[in-house]
Amino acid sequence: MKKLLAVLLCLTFLTGCSRRPTRFSAVYTDVFDTVTEFTAYCQSSEEFEKYSGQLHGELLRLHGIFDIYSYCDGINNARSLNEAGEPIVIPAELMEVIASGLSWYDETGGKLDLALGSVLRLWEDCREKGVLPDDSELKARAEHISPENIVIEGETCYLSDPETSLDFGALAKGYAAEKCAEMLEGAGLSDFAISCGGNVVTRGKKPSGSWEIAVEDPNGGFAATVKVSGLAVVTSGDYQRFYEVDGVRYHHIIDPDTLYPASLWRSVTVVSPSSAEADALSTALFCLDLETGRELCKNHGAEAMWIDKDGNVTETDGFGELKK
């Protein structure tokens, strides 16, 4: 009798199903110096390969435009712009992100500064050598981080100060994820998520419900899991990219005012309909106090969660509602 029950049980669970979309994933490690993950529900692997190919192509194209380390064939990209002493024609995408960067600078009181490149490069070099940057060198470079040095004329742009250089680390990934999501949606894909180096953008949902995105608790485990559909989630954390000198951690989010890693929060997570905005906001909020951050979120219709040094979690009301 027990055997019979066992057999019946197995049969029930094996009952197959068909025509339900299957989950597929792809990973790209050659764009934006980070890992990009693409997950989608498709009817067949051929269908997924098609979208995955389109996505990878678009990511590579955008990566080329925002690359500050290499030139890009045929167009003036971020590196070309950083080195240009005279007006050059730049791609519309680059222009769009520069324009948004300028407005973020005003809105965040300078906490989000895309002209911070020279300071960031110094920290980057020091990170690779495992040493701390020279304070006077930092201050010297800080003389050239004003976005006023960015001169835009029609479709052309150049930097009036040769020592100034732009960095798109806080803006490009979110922008790219948003653009790619729009492209895939336009191509007919409805249920997918892209995580570009921690910039998660979601569309549609899984057969079982909304996309679930967990935020690491710097002290272990998950601080929160949000369920989202059609929203973007971005976290800026001091545990994502850092190095240690004499046992002290130095992470990658530099406060333009102090020129040192921002130390108010351990991580800030932003949920917003736009991944470009979420990316910029999470970086800005990381350098801003709670009240200013809250105000900024309100103005942009975004929700946020802050984790401070002691592990205390603060969140906007709307963020709480997204948790499961």
Binding site: V27, E212, A214
Partner: protein, 118 residues
């Protein structure tokens, strides 16, 4: 005829039902504590699945070594410059990941968990 007198078989059926419920309940709460295995992928292709309950090391494509110890996975011997993956705290919960972007290596704890961990 089959009346209401309770037979031995009845007791067996009810006991089996209760026992199975208890067993499955036990099984349903254990795996939520931690995932049982990590999947290691290189350049998007899964190359290995290692159970977490067995201490061992695994070298991935000359880029780094995955160390499994005390039910947690971590990275050592990374050949990339930043060695950020080495500094990532050990992972054990379903959905947690350690990523080595320069090497194209992703180590993910399998099991039912969130779709992405930030």
């Amino acid at each position: 005829m089959s009346g209401s007198i309770i037979k031995k078989g009845d007791i067996a059926v009810i006991s089996a039902g209760i026992l199975l419920s208890a067993l499955l309940f036990a099984a349903s709460i254990i795996p939520t504590k931690s995932g049982s295995a990590v999947e290691i992928s290189l350049g998007g292709e899964a190359v290995e699945v290692l159970p977490l309950d067995e201490d061992r090391t695994f070298e991935v494509g000359g880029a780094l070594t995955v160390v499994i110890k005390n039910g947690e996975a971590s990275v050592s011997g990374a050949v990339c410059r930043g060695k950020l993956c080495e500094k990532h705290r050990p992972i054990s919960r379903a959905g947690e990941v350690i990523v080595c972007a320069p090497g194209g290596v992703v180590i993910r704890v399998l099991g039912e968990g969130p779709d992405f961990v930030l």
